[in-house]
């Protein structure tokens, strides 16, 4: 689903990510981990076609992101760090707008909105203004938006950031329920979450991939395996 070759991004003199190589198979839920500032968001911005890399290649579902950007983008749903909402639109109006941008057929827009609203528990809130929603609901609208058009790949940048424990659990359950229908890449620095739902783990540190393995291999069956590994790999 995702193939990344020698992906590099430099901002002026700072190297954000340095020759990343990894791939993600279809249907996987992948945890993308790393300390703050390790290059997670940069990688995600490149994978969604928002930002071109300085060098290297990235392909999604076989389409090169910078040679066939529209084809690739059609297959990606993206939740940025901050849910991209227009406070003056209602949830329904907002989802309708995003469906139109994503080219969902007019006849299907309504059922598509119902589908994602049901999946994210937004049904009762459809007619509220997104600007008046609580943080948890904004996050859900952000995820609902990413799911519109049923893209094969979902890229979620810190989907549980800033949520309370209950909302956190709900969002995780939601992501877990997507397993099988979508390939999901999610970034977070909360390891317990990753342990609960991810099958593959990528750890990035100072712009380099330091671990790329299945959950079972990384934890080695131990309860604190992931934490130990994370701390060991991201040490100075």
């Amino acid at each position: 689903m995702i193939e990344v070759e020698n992906l590099t991004k430099t901002y002026r003199d700072r190297v954000a990510i340095d020759a990343l190589n990894f791939s993600v198979k279809e249907g996987q839920i992948v945890g993308f981990l790393g300390p703050n500032g390790a290059g997670k968001s940069t990688t995600m911005k490149i994978l969604t076609g928002f930002m071109p890399p300085t060098s290297g290649k990235a392909r999604v579902a076989g389409f090169d992101l910078f040679e066939k950007p529209l084809e690739a983008k059609r297959r990606i749903g993206y939740l940025p760090e901050t849910p991209p909402l227009y406070p003056e639109l209602t949830v329904r109006g907002y989802l309708k707008f995003v469906s139109e941008l994503k080219g969902v057929a007019s006849a299907k827009v309504k059922s598509e909105i119902d589908r994602v609203a049901q999946g994210t528990g937004l049904m009762p809130e459809l007619d509220r203004l997104t600007g008046t929603l609580s943080k948890g609901y904004r996050q859900r609208v952000g995820i609902a938006q990413a799911m519109l058009g049923n893209p094969a790949l979902l890229i979620l940048d810190e989907p549980t950031e800033g949520l309370d424990p209950r909302q956190r659990r709900e969002v995780l359950e939601l992501i877990k329920s997507l397993k099988g229908q979508h390939t999901v890449v999610l970034s977070t620095h909360i390891l317990a979450e990753v342990k609960a739902i991810c099958e593959q783990v990528l750890i990035i540190h100072r712009g380099k991939i330091v671990a790329d393995d299945t959950m079972a291999n990384i934890t080695g069956g131990r309860e604190t395996g992931l934490e130990d590994k994370f701390i060991q790999l991201t040490a100075e």
Partner: protein
């Protein structure tokens, strides 16, 4: 096409559900009404003077002649005032176009959905045209009032050709201001900065003509050519002139291209 229309619709919804557009509508209506009432008073006064003069209109000084009919006395002058008003209100409408997307972080959404940047620019600009059209559309009420209640020596109260050509000039100027404002808005995250810079550009443009009188040829001709009021003066007076359409059309096209470049370039930073 559908995505352009979707963005256009969303822009109008955003404008009309936030207070800014309504503040601008109110300001526009209030100030242009004040101009209108003032011009009507001048008009009435000129007619009284003419009635009391022995030889009627022929005796009056030239500045009174324009007030002989409603079209030249009221509408043409009104359009010139609205032209200046547009320069003040357009930045407040255009400032949010891209600056707000960047502050809300929705710019990333637009850039990661399968649409091309030019569709974003086109949709946004159509929305901008819609809102400036509505703002300027409010002023068409004044000629309608005159047509309903006024009269003139030749029968019909207004020469609609003149009125509408002037109005076309006004819309053209509004469209140009929105294009400039949109480009400026695409450069910054702050709406206030966007409004201020767009306004500064329009203000300098307005002052070009007064600078032109103090300089020598050939700079004077160039400045005169570039000044928007000399470009528009024929249209406002009701003379069909295609040059301003080419001139402002080019300015708009350049601004749209620059906006396109600017949003493409932002992805690199």
């Amino acid at each position: 096409m559908r995505t352009i229309f979707a963005i256009f619709k969303k822009e109008l919804v955003s404008y009309l559900t936030t207070p800014w557009a309504w503040v601008v509508f109110t300001g526009m209506t209030f100030i242009s009404s004040a101009f209108f009432v003032g011009l009507l008073a001048n008009f009435k006064q000129a007619h009284e003077v003419a009635r009391n003069a022995q030889l009627g209109w022929t005796q009056l000084p030239p500045e009174y002649q324009a007030f002989r009919n409603l079209t030249d006395g009221v509408v043409v002058n009104l359009w010139s005032s609205v032209l200046i008003l547009t320069l003040f209100v357009a930045p407040f409408l255009s400032m949010r176009l891209f600056a707000e997307e960047r502050r809300n972080k929705t710019f990333e959404l637009l850039m990661t959905t399968p649409i091309r940047p030019f569709e974003i620019v086109a949709g946004k600009y159509l929305g901008a045209l819609g809102i400036i059209g509505m703002t300027l559309g409010l002023t068409i009420i004044f000629p309608l009032i005159l047509a309903a209640f006024g009269s003139s020596e030749s029968g019909s109260a207004l020469e609609w050709n003149t009125v509408l050509l002037g109005y076309a000039g006004l819309l053209l100027w509004g469209a140009t201001n929105m294009a400039i404002g949109m480009f400026i808005s695409s450069l910054t995250e702050s709406q206030m900065v966007a409004a201020f810079v767009s306004f500064a550009i329009a203000l300098v443009w307005m002052l070009i003509r007064s600078v032109a009188t103090d300089v020598d040829e050939p700079v004077r001709s160039i400045l005169n050519y570039l000044s928007f009021d000399s470009q528009l003066q024929n249209l406002i007076k009701g003379v069909l002139d295609l040059r301003p359409f080419v001139f402002f059309g080019s300015v708009i096209a350049v601004c749209l291209l620059l906006t396109h470049r600017s949003i493409e370039a932002q992805r690199w930073t």
